[in-house]
Amino acid sequence: MRRRVYESLGVAAVLAVLVLVLQLSAGGQEKSEGGTPAPSGPAPKTALGHPDLQGIWLDEFQTPLERPAQYADREFLTEEERKQQDDDRSGNIGRNRRVERGSQQDVAGAYNAVFTSAKPTGRRTSMVVDPPNGRIPALTPQMQERNRLDREFRLALLQNTDTCKTKAPACNGGTYGPPSPRFAEVPANYNTQRMNRHNGPEDQSLGDRCMLGREPDFNAFRRIVQGPESVAIGIDTGQGQGYQRVVYLTGKHPPSSIRLRHGDSRGRYEGNSLVVETTNFSPKWPFRGAAENLTLVEKFTRIDAKTLEYQVTVTDPTVWTAPWTVRQEMKLQPDDQNRIYYEPRCHEGNYGLAALLIGARLDEKRFKEGRGPNPASQDTATDFGPGAGGPQ
């Protein structure tokens, strides 16, 4: 857990800025009634007659990616349901929860509600709008097998820790046992998630390496600047791990041997929308396991002066048995206060990564000299919060 404290120190400033930004947005924005885009003037056009998509955009509401089963095929919540969810969340002490003091899972005050600001509940029951049940389609058999093997490996690295001894949720599917010989193994696929081993940078999550940002992103602020032959999208996300995209309205995708973190984006205007196809993704930056065969088709539609509808269809036949589509309504954010954090400089201040590698080497040394526990018996990977911990 030492690593979490280091990281907290390293990124606290960035987080503070992000939280401030979110709070300001929530407080300072004109709220549209019920999340329904309030008519606020017609959708503007550029001088070339295209839909004008420029500005800073944010989905101001909280919506789960996948629809909870209780809503079945229902796309929207009632006003009462939204109010209920807001009340539940604002009163949820779990956002400031501590586990047993002094246990490995307890992090002194890190990542409580101060760090995890909550947006008001949106009108949608899920971001996924297709399939109609709002659920991401089933994984292909080969992807299920790949995930199973991946989880098996990560659980093996945890099997000698208290997390498995106490049958904590992060050890679900695993058992308590002696230190695993698999500590010596190189993972079958390029690692992008946390694991209970810190032999070098590649054992860390992409986030810990300041390389988290990738497409598609459903939470970011984004600044769109539109030129006649290309569109720039600056994305502010993930603790200073934002990125820049350029959507070219000309030319074609590079050869398939060229693999890019954010893919290669080519766009065209269709009626009132900008339609962007992105391919050439890199296996080093997968989205839920999809990379080389991933194609995104995004549709940016300016609905009115203050609303941008964003839709993305995710296709990768090697990962999912069918394509699926997310839809979000984004609101225009004030530009003059210059609040968007457009300089992603996580890497420049990444003391956390060096610190956790130093910590791991010191732990090994102490164990070797008989002055400390076996690192294999220590859980330095999982967290206590729901969704935050455990092998991914």
């Binding site: 800025v17 017609p42 550029t46 001088a47 070339l48 004008d52 420029q54 032999n199 070098g200 940078p201 390496r209 300041c210 390389m211 600044r223 600047v225 539109q226 030129g227 006649p228 032959e229 290309s230 569109v231 720039a232 600056g234 990125y243 820049q244 995209r245 350029v246 070219y248 000309t250 030319g251 074609k252 590079p254 060229i258 890019l260 973190r261 954010h262 290669d264 080093k284 530009d335 003059d336 206060q337 210059n338 609040r339 457009y342 300089e343 400089r345 890497h347 420049e348 990564l353 060096a354 590698l357 130093i358 791991a360 080497r361 090994e364």
Partner: protein, 319 residues
């Protein structure tokens, strides 16, 4: 609808005015039209651009050097240095090309005496100090002339630049915005048009950037005034006047052309250097270092190199 109507009228007038002004931008042969001006009559900088010079090595005039890193040879003369261990295995591919320099006037950078000493130390300790090697955000003006392309997207009230190096970005605000809440690597850029010249003032630097690989540097007091003057539809004369009273005794200026990348599918392909720098930055913290000799935090580079094969002299020598 009135608003919309007047917008159209303004746009039409602007287009007409633009058409008149556009005669001022020299056209190159074979131009198909449309690229020289934007719809609102401004010079059209949209596209992929790149400097084509040696400023990223050293802003000042310099001779070709035998290696990115050199060591004294058998002579004491500077011109007789030889490549040092980190690059000796790369032979003639790892030298530094010569340049007439991009500093205008007398070509000198007017350091204060204290700063001149720091600059010398920087050059002597290039590997340890240059933020480029760590893949830190390159800052302005350095990002403008690194040997990587960058994209300009020219919007209504913002101009966005995306650099291949580290996927760095920059927004030039053509409208009024507040300054950033903190100092920055890439600066806070506010632009305006002065005729056909885009003038950008850049402030709010954190002072952690360098200008080049020769150790030229600035402090957080840096203020830049950049000028982008169209030479043709495919070339921009880029000038940056550098003011930093903590480091320099007077303002000074660099000037160079930027060229449009004319390939049909010109694209800024990212140079994702964060991961490229990990071995350099964290290699000594691995459980089993990949570089064979780390002495504490010092990488001792041992170069294994075979004598070049395939030439008769070496074949004879081997017998």
């Amino acid at each position: 609808m009135n608003v919309k109507g007047s917008t159209i009228v303004i746009a039409l007038v602007a287009a007409a005015v633009g058409a008149l002004i556009s005669a001022a931008i020299p056209r190159t042969a074979g131009e198909t039209g449309g690229r020289g001006r934007t719809a609102d009559g401004k010079p059209n900088f949209n596209g992929v651009w790149q400097a084509m010079n040696e400023a990223h090595w050293d802003l000042q005039a310099h001779e070709a050097r035998p290696g990115l890193v050199t060591q004294p040879g058998i002579y004491k003369f500077d011109y007789a240095k030889v490549p040092a261990a980190p690059v000796v295995a790369l032979g003639a591919a790892a030298g530094v090309p010569a340049s007439l320099g991009v500093v205008t006037g007398d070509g000198q950078i007017p350091y204060t005496p204290e700063a001149a000493k720091i600059r010398q130390d920087n050059a002597a300790n290039w590997i340890d100090r240059d933020p480029e090697l760590k893949c830190y955000l390159p800052g302005i003006p350095r990002a403008m002339y690194m040997p990587y392309p960058f994209a300009i997207v020219q919007g209504n009230d913002k101009i966005h630049m995306t650099y291949a190096f580290s996927n760095a970005g920059r927004v030039i605000h053509m409208n009024k915005v507040e300054g950033p809440p903190d100092d920055t690597y890439m600066g806070h850029s506010v632009g305006r048009w002065d005729g056909d010249t885009l003038v950008v003032e850049v402030t709010n630097f954190n002072g952690k950037n360098w200008f080049d690989r020769a150790g030229n540097f600035h402090s957080e007091s840096l203020k830049l005034v950049e000028q982008y003057k169209p030479i043709s539809q495919d070339a921009i004369q880029y000038e940056a006047t550098i003011e930093d009273p903590k480091t320099f005794t007077r303002p000074w200026t660099i000037s160079m052309p930027l060229y449009r990348r004319l390939e049909e599918s010109a694209t800024v392909l990212d140079y994702p250097c964060i991961e490229f720098s990990e071995e350099f930055m964290y290699g000594h913290l691995r459980d089993k270092p990949l570089v064979t000799r780390w002495e504490g935090e010092t990488m001792v580079v041992e170069v294994t190199r075979k004598v070049p094969e395939g030439d008769k002299l070496h074949e004879w020598y081997r017998r």
